[in-house]
Amino acid sequence: MSSERRRRSIFEMFDEYFERVEALVEHQVEALMERPSWRPVSSTIEPLTNIFIEATEVVVTADIPCTDPRKTRVNFIDEDTLEVTAPLQRCVKYGDFRVRHRRGEFRQFHTRFKVPVPVEKHEAKITCKRGVLEVRIPRKLGVPTAIE
């Protein structure tokens, strides 16, 4: 084992390490994808979402078609968790998609986001256009370090 280790260069070891990390991340993302996004128990649908960390703000978007923007709720449930609830304009059933072997009806979109950087949660700006919700939250910016 030790002689094998001596034969590998530091670059090979780095490559192997990053390959393992990449495989792990891919595996976890795929595991997340395998979770059903239609949840009959809670009558909710998990929407497609995106989160972008920009220089001065965090932009969160969610695709929430068939909803009324006036009834959509966006709340911070703690310092870094954002919750979105958007009732559908009408109750949707599996049967509406000709899926007749499953039972369940869906009344709203529901999702939670972990915001990965500190933000000014009380200054969030929320818009909804074309059924796409957009939440723009200013980042908490630290004290800049002066350049000598």
Binding site: M33, S37, P47, L48, N50, D63, P65, V92, K129
Partner: protein, 248 residues
Amino acid sequence: MSHVVSVVEKEAIPEEPIIIAGLPDIGLVGVIAAVHIASSLNMKDVGSVESDLLPPLVVLYNGLPKPPVRILSSGKLVVILSETAIPASAVYKVAHAIVQWALEKKAKLLVSIGGVAVEDRHSIDKPKVFASASDEATLDTVKGKGVEPLDKGYIVGPYALILRYSAMQNIPAISLLAEAFFNYPDPEAAASAITELNKILDLNVDVSKLREKGEEIRLASKDIMRRTQLEMAKMRKSQEYDVPPLHV
């Protein structure tokens, strides 16, 4: 069938067809457009793309199995439609098989319908459509129909390969790319792409229903979009945002 992609014709497809590819990509533009074209023109199933590189699934319609990548046709107009995300690992062979089949059939034109992601998509009323082509004459024809060329930039994924292989095999091919959401289904972008396709192919596919039913289509397409998103990440699809180096 080890790692081979084959195009299977269940019914004879005439030579010199015009082939439209609707594969899962940005905003699912191609898939949504292909489904709409096929149903508007009452196309029937005539074949499939088969491979053990594709997910092991069938799509059930009225209790009967349909392959995930279907070929539908009406006369000489043929649609290749995928109802599952094409795994990144299969993209080379699927694109190669489609182009080889187009070559064997002496295709008059191979059209790929897709999207080009724009960040301010939600503030765009009518998404613009750009075109790229496998050769200059085909691009000139498309430009003559009033479609703006995608002058410079990267295309990543199955359509990139279809265009590249078509150029190598001298098959006239175009990519029609509508401004779209990156990873949200975009029926309005599909409607814009079909409107341009109507001009190019002298078709008359009505897109009003596509616009009316847009929100329902988005709801029904979100799961295939989610899986496509994963495959796009593996293909490094975000390279389409990159600026290519200076022209040599």
